[in-house]
Symmetry: C2
Subunit: 317 residues, 2 copies
Amino acid sequence: MNILVTGGAGFIGSHLADALLATGHHVTALDDLSCGRASNIAHLRAHPRFQFIRLDVCDEKGLCDVFARDSFATVFHMAANSDIQAGPRQLNLDLNRTFLTTFAVLRCMKQHGTASLVFASTSAVYGEMEGPMREDAGPLFPISFYGAAKLASEAFISAWVANCGIQAWILRFPNVVGERSTHGVVHDFINRLTADPKRLTILGDGRQCKPYLYVKDLIDGMLFVWQGAKDRLNYFNLGVNSDTTVRRIAEIVVEKMRLSNVEFSFTGGDRGWTGDVPRFKYELSKVHQLGWQARRTSDEAIRLAVQAELTYRGGQT
Amino acid sequence: MNILVTGGAGFIGSHLADALLATGHHVTALDDLSCGRASNIAHLRAHPRFQFIRLDVCDEKGLCDVFARDSFATVFHMAANSDIQAGPRQLNLDLNRTFLTTFAVLRCMKQHGTASLVFASTSAVYGEMEGPMREDAGPLFPISFYGAAKLASEAFISAWVANCGIQAWILRFPNVVGERSTHGVVHDFINRLTADPKRLTILGDGRQCKPYLYVKDLIDGMLFVWQGAKDRLNYFNLGVNSDTTVRRIAEIVVEKMRLSNVEFSFTGGDRGWTGDVPRFKYELSKVHQLGWQARRTSDEAIRLAVQAELTYRGGQT
């Protein structure tokens, strides 16, 4: 199958490209390399079923040219601003990169008859929901610009399915960690402990607690749901039933960095930053009933991610 | 209080301006007169607490100039594409006029320190929901571009409340009818019966059934909730507990036009057009508990609307 992956040089998008190629598909990866890295797909450059095009997905003219040159059976739309904390500082960031990229993809799909879309959505659409986040729960009041832009994307995808005859899979990711990640708490802790191996400042009270999904499990789940769910509009939480506190992450990082006697200090409050959802619990029965479960626990995912980042940095020096 | 009403020459916006002036506020009405009509506010032109500025709310530079000249305590953001059926034909229409107007308003509010926003949302955010539409129900999968753009607006308003310290009232309107309306089933039927008083084509099977709220009841409800609800983010369905079938609307129009022996024919199917939600039931206990109920039933609202439109057309000829 001929597949377009937007954000294909990104953290998750590049793993997706690997997996799609491994199962025999042709993959065109688009990326403007603002969040993504050329190194994430360097190993694919010579692959006979892979091509990379450097393009800002907001550039609708350029995007339509890509659609015109190839006939794509499916688009995996992964391109987005991945730096959630930057949203409040640059109000147009998530509007342009997280929402308007989706709109541009939808327009090009209609213009060129591409019939199916897999969309990387997020737990952030639920905002600070009381009780477990079921796929059919409401109300949906995101507290981050990133979550708002993803919910806005979902809304237009839904209208596109109803009016333009496409099929869509909306997959709501939790925190995802692993090789090629560029942001997040694991990075922050490694950065701080590299600068000062004796003390670590932890945002919030350290009791923020979330499920962390290992990136390769996420990819496995994405492809499973894409193959297995047959509605016109499919929507699933993808996640893991265990979770990890921020304090536990700090402990794992300290251990993996072989440090000792590190003094933890906490900035206090229940969350790391405005727009952060300090704890959440996914309801995962829908995807479990379809037949998929994550292989690694949240703690295992963090261990793998810390090890991967330390190995990456070791290779960089 | 100094209040900005976007879409202030529109069907609902102009009634809102009337009501806000009647309770002593200063009102600046913005409208590009694409959906709104100068005649809707002609009676206000000489009012000492009213000013009208012709402006496309998407013109963020122009909008910020308006914010810079006056200090607004509250914005009522009513500007939107009101022709829902036009959405699928012009894919950017609801993006630009229904969603990006909201984004422009939010940006200007932040830039100029305006602290509160009342937003005209819609039942269309719920899509084709099974069971009654409660404010906290999900999932939210709109089937119209209009509904998608309103949900996208809600999402960013929610993020703005969480990150930028504003207070907001999201009010989800049902079908609203009455004086100064320019679209909808009442207009369509009057148009068709004026062209041919012997037969009336009715889209769908005529059993589409919705609550119709009289515009003056809506305005009353809006102001009641704005005054009475005190959360940072307030969200309410506004509606009426009765409803009216499309066939019943046809009968009321025929009766008010003093026609007889009109032959009804139905195009068939369960809905008027793709993107139409053929029947819905609002759950209204939240607004009832706050202390507000609509005065007129849905049938009474339709009767008032038909009479108003016939009177308007009589005055035009």
